[in-house]
Amino acid sequence: MARAVRPASILPLVLDRVGVEIGGQVLVAEVDHRFEEGGLSVILGPNGAGKSLLLRVAHGLLAPSRGAVRWLGPGAAAARRHQAMVFHRPVLLRRSVLGNVVFALRLKGVAQREAVVRAGEVLEATGLSDKSDLSAGSLSGGEQQRLALARAWAVEPEVLFLDEPTSNLDPAASWAIETLIRSISASGTKIIMTTHDLPLVRRLADELLFLHRGRLLVAGGAADLFAQPKTPELVAFLEGELRW
């Protein structure tokens, strides 16, 4: 799957002193970051660090209590259209596998006939074409996650947010998801994902952001940070010693 005509980029994405406060509790505080075009960025951190929350804010599902999320690219006006997200637990509609993908395409204004063709191609590319007529609910956990990814990929987003795409999956299913993430990344989609699967991060990440208790402690090139973690919290996390 290659992007046919590339629209004007919506990136960079800037998080400007973003804070999230829910019920008087500060869950994300003063996060400043600029996501550039291309590559795969990973938001790393222990449970409860605010990773998913930050992802939802960046995607526009949740308004930040403080600060702002800004898309600065030339195509920024259409930012909403050119991003997609796959959630921690895949949310599929109670219709066929094909129907789930067609639904997403129809929402983007693709005509029914073309949507069916494109959905078929995406299912082919994600290894789900033999299941396209099955009910989405009958798929296994790994297949459901793959379908959620396929549905997000089908709309050819410039930016794809993934919230812990491999958690709760067995090694084979994780591997299938990882392969898929590579293909999506290779097709030119910018991926911003959260995970605490360190081996996966080592294999995939170009950029690393380390979030701890709602604060962005460090961000930079993944290879550099793995070589020189810079903060004691990241050192502890990478060594599996940081619990919260």
Partner: protein, 238 residues
């Protein structure tokens, strides 16, 4: 207790004898009840959907009001509709009083709150489960309503059946606005009331058994519809 035995005999004789009056009653009952349910669905499902997905001032009050209206007393609704349609009422020009049309109006008023209130409840929980995903896909609240209805199609169908049950079992409203005129506005429940009043208890009970069978058939059909829907997984869904 003799009545029960004779009641079954009556029911059987009525059904097997293709009693014209009975089948006329059944047909009219079905017509009025189904029309009311279709109208109530057309009004109540979108209304429930709007209350489920949009946030606005007074939303909670609307929900409470709808829930309370599920318990509207049929005779009161009948009386109000009667006053509206009567010669001195604001809708007298419609000339609906003592017609099946008036019965449909009264029953629609009774059934709509049930459909709307239950639909709201169902779609609200669907919306909380799908909200992020649908929003992410670019599906706003308005566009989400038909999608959520489709996602919860079985539950929504069940609320329509509940509405049908309310309409089919109801006598107070239709007897006031329809007038229980033989061959014109006499339905199952009004004939049961009439026969009971006349002291024909066995016949009344027999009609009751027929009514029960009717309800059973409707529910069976709905069930069958649901099964086939499940098998034919439609990807053209809204």
């Amino acid at each position: 207790m003799d009545e029960f035995g004779t009641a079954f005999a009556h029911a059987f004789r009525l059904l097997a004898g293709f009693d014209d009056e009975l089948y006329g009653n059944v047909a009219l009952s079905l017509e009025v009840n189904l029309a009311a349910v279709v109208l109530a669905a057309a009004l109540g499902v979108p209304l429930g959907g709007v209350l489920a997905v949009y946030r606005f001032a007074g939303r909670r009050a609307c929900a409470v009001l709808l829930n309370a209206m599920m318990g509207l007393p049929p005779v009161v609704v009948g009386l109000v509709v009667y006053l509206m349609l009567s010669r001195s009422g604001p809708f007298s020009v419609l000339d609906l009083l003592f017609t099946p049309g008036a019965m449909i109006v009264a029953q629609t008023i009774l059934v709509t709150p049930i459909v709307a209130a239950l639909t709201r409840q169902i779609l609200e929980s669907e919306w909380s489960a799908y909200r992020d995903q649908l929003t992410s896909l670019g599906c706003g609240p308005g566009r989400a309503i038909p999608t959520l209805v489709w996602e919860a199609r079985e539950a929504v169908l069940t609320t329509l059946l509940a509405g049908f049950g309310r309409a089919a079992a109801e006598v107070g409203a239709v007897i006031i606005v329809g007038g229980n005129i033989a061959h014109y506005t006499r339905v199952m429940t009004t004939s049961i009331a009439l026969e009971t009043g006349r002291g024909n208890l066995a016949l009344a009970l027999g009609l009751g058994i027929v009514l029960l069978l009717l309800s059973l058939v409707i529910n069976g059909l709905a069930w069958a519809l649901r099964e086939t829907r499940e098998e034919a997984v439609a990807w053209r869904a809204p």
